[in-house]
Symmetry: C2
Subunit: 212 residues, 2 copies
């Protein structure tokens, strides 16, 4: 696959942490439950959390057709979609070298509303399956009214960068002997036991009970 570098996504800061390779970018996009969608309206940037899904070379985000984000962005404006996975707190001997371990992706592009019914239905399925693989074929599919109430934006994956930090603190040599604990506190997102709706008698499906 071609890289997604552009002048705007070139990583100037700590480029050794960065990548424009789809092999790095795609798994981060696919793992993150949600993204932050940035757009500008009347000179004011807005950053909205929403759910996305990647289908091949396209990133889809969705939202209520009545929302400001969707009404603003669907006409085709520059957007930025950022996902961040937090992997740990990095505690260095010096305050300055404190950091976090993370994997993030920034996608720049022009969002365009998906109007083709087949593409829209497939994108919505992908968004449901992105949250929980196997779920889209189980739930009652959307109907015309519901699809009309939802806007799906399409952002081609042509300009993007990933940034990844791993490992322990990187202290200055003269700080190494300081009597300060240094290391990493790993963080991860854990799913608890599914909580069934009291009005539901259906046993948990396999995609819910398997090891996550």
């Amino acid at each position: 696959m071609p890289g997604l570098q552009s002048e705007r996504t070139t990583l100037h800061r700590l480029p050794e942490r960065g990548s424009h390779d789809r092999e790095v970018i795609d798994p981060i996009l696919d793992e993150a439950y949600l993204c932050h969608l940035g757009f500008t309206q009347d000179g004011q940037p807005f950053v909205i959390p929403t759910i996305h899904a990647r289908v091949g070379d396209v990133l889809y985000v969705h939202g209520s057709a009545a929302s400001r984000a969707m009404r603003t962005a669907k006409v085709g404006i520059p957007v930025c979609v950022t996902v961040t996975l937090l992997d740990g707190l990095v505690l260095a001997r010096s305050a300055f070298h404190h950091s976090m371990n993370y994997r993030s992706v920034i996608v720049l592009g022009t969002a365009i509303e998906v109007t083709d019914p087949a593409e829209k239905a497939a994108a919505l399925d992908a968004i449901v399956d992105h949250v929980l693989a196997g779920r889209a074929s189980d739930a009652r599919p959307g109907n015309d009214k519901e699809r009309k109430a939802t806007t799906v934006l399409r952002i081609p994956l042509t300009e993007a960068s990933a940034k990844v930090r791993t490992g322990g603190p990187k202290d200055d040599p003269e700080d190494m002997a300081l009597p300060v604990w240094a290391g990493v506190v790993p963080l991860r997102v854990v799913a608890g036991a599914p909580e069934r709706d009291p009005k539901c008698a259906v046993p948990a499906p396999r995609y819910l009970t398997k090891e996550r």
Copy 2:
């Protein structure tokens, strides 16, 4: 405390999930490890993950003085700072009513670089302590060179909104009898056992070993 409603932060979509009260907003800002900072440069929005801290009525974010985000934003431009805490996946009987439980805050404002040395030092301490309470007084404090390499932005908490979704799926009455599992998969961020730097012999301090 006064509410932080403005025309721009008024919640039009699902206003029952929203709030402009500091009693709702502050704990969300304080709990989130990281925020997403949105700014616009040459018409292109950028959304950058970074670490923040709230001190009273001010939100601070920081970054490398050499980064695009800090170089762009420090001159005083409109920004949006968004934090999102993900609490669960909401699985409804219909695809349309799938959702997530979350707590998010959006802060709008003009970022201004903090140049007062005392305010900057206090903000940087707050950012370290935001990540891990008690840490700032333990680590080696920043020196002039380090403070120069770091830009801190100040965003007054005057225009903000919170949005919170809790509880189970809200299906349409005609879908309630469908043979589809419905409920919530709770999610939470869990800290693992601290991993000490192999070159460090200092025992874990109390703020690391206490129940998180």
